[in-house]
């Protein structure tokens, strides 16, 4: 979506630390694929495990370059802690959003005041922007329509403010402060 | 008790699919119909998992998994066509 925006700093970073980057991407991808295989087959027979090992080895060699393009930061305890807090906040917001939408649907007069507003974000990586957009889609009353550069186009079911700064504060900030730590 | 529970939930989800179908027939533009099919597919995935519980066979869960993956691809193909560039 925004290839021309983020490609130049990433390319320079990749050339300086090529080798450890690639090994880390390979190991992460292999672990994810193997865990998904074990969860799907649900058996610890040695034949199943060997097949899964070979398949996930081949796939992770094949898909290693695409994983590097996602630019996911290395694993630390602090990031894991913030990720868990982020998931809890997201879950609470999803439940609040459902009761909000359910109230608007059941009410006979449909109390909606829809509109399209623009908000800003300070996140740099594409993957972080995708997580922010998905979280905004699942939270009360807001829906991401488009992302270009550092602007997000938001459809709001009950518009409280039309100003970009105020809307950024009301919609994006509660997730952005966690995502900024996770992807720093 | 268990039989009525299963039947009530199955008919409630079936009513949801029916409402989406009415929106599909009424919808004035093509994106409305795409939204109705997307919602109906998510409801159907939940319904398939629930039917696996009703028939007590684990192989039915695989149908739900395949259905979830491939419906995503189908809806994204429709959206890419609407956006004028597949």
């Amino acid at each position: 979506m925004n290839e021309k925006h983020g490609s130049s700093p990433r390319a320079s970073r990749k050339t300086t630390t090529e080798q450890p980057h690639e090994r880390r991407a390979f190991l992460n991808l292999f672990a994810i694929l193997f865990v998904v295989w074990v969860l799907l087959t649900e058996s610890f027979n040695w034949q199943e495990l060997t097949t899964g090992f070979i398949v996930s080895l081949g796939l992770s060699i094949f898909l290693r370059k695409s994983y590097i393009k996602l630019d996911i930061p290395p694993f630390t305890i602090k990031r894991l802690w913030y990720f868990i807090v982020y998931l809890v906040v997201l879950l609470v917001e999803i439940i609040k959003a459902n009761f909000d939408v359910a109230y608007r649907i059941i009410h006979p007069k449909l109390p909606i005041k829809p509109g399209i507003v623009v908000i800003k974000t300070e996140l740099k990586q594409d993957f972080a922007k995708m997580m922010l957009a998905n979280s905004i889609t699942l939270t009360p009353g807001t829906f991401t329509l488009d992302i270009i550069g550092d602007r997000l186009l938001i459809h709001w079911i009950y518009v409280r403010t039309e100003d970009t700064e105020r809307a950024t504060e009301m919609i994006g900030n509660k997730f952005e402060k966690y995502l900024k730590v996770i992807f720093s | 008790m268990s039989e009525t529970f299963v039947l009530v939930l199955l008919s409630a989800a079936g009513l949801g699919v029916l409402l989406c179908l009415i929106r599909f027939f009424k919808g004035p533009t093509a994106p409305d119909r795409a939204v109705a099919v997307d919602t109906a597919c998510t409801v159907t995935t939940a319904l398939l998992v629930f039917m696996a519980y009703y028939f007590k066979r684990q192989i039915y869960l695989d149908v739900a998994l395949v259905y979830a993956v491939l419906m995503f691809i189908g809806v994204v193909a429709i959206a890419r066509f609407l956006e004028r560039g597949i």
Binding site: - | L10, A30, Y60, D62, V66, I73, G74, F81
Partner: protein, 79 residues
Amino acid sequence: MIVIVTLVVALMLSAAVSALFFKDLLSAVIASCLVSLFASILFLFLQAPDVAMAEASIGAALITAVFMIALRRTKRYEE
């Protein structure tokens, strides 16, 4: 059981007939997608999970994608 099967067949028929009468061909493709959805439910009710899986994969993803590529090459609206 027979009631549910009859209902699903009726819904499937109504979606298939609606695909005939749309002037917008994109809507007709979406309707055929809906037909395969009901067919998949019907096969699962008749205790044939493998057929349901094949129907879901072919009807939902493959036919939709192929028709979309075909519609790109031709016109979207029927005169």
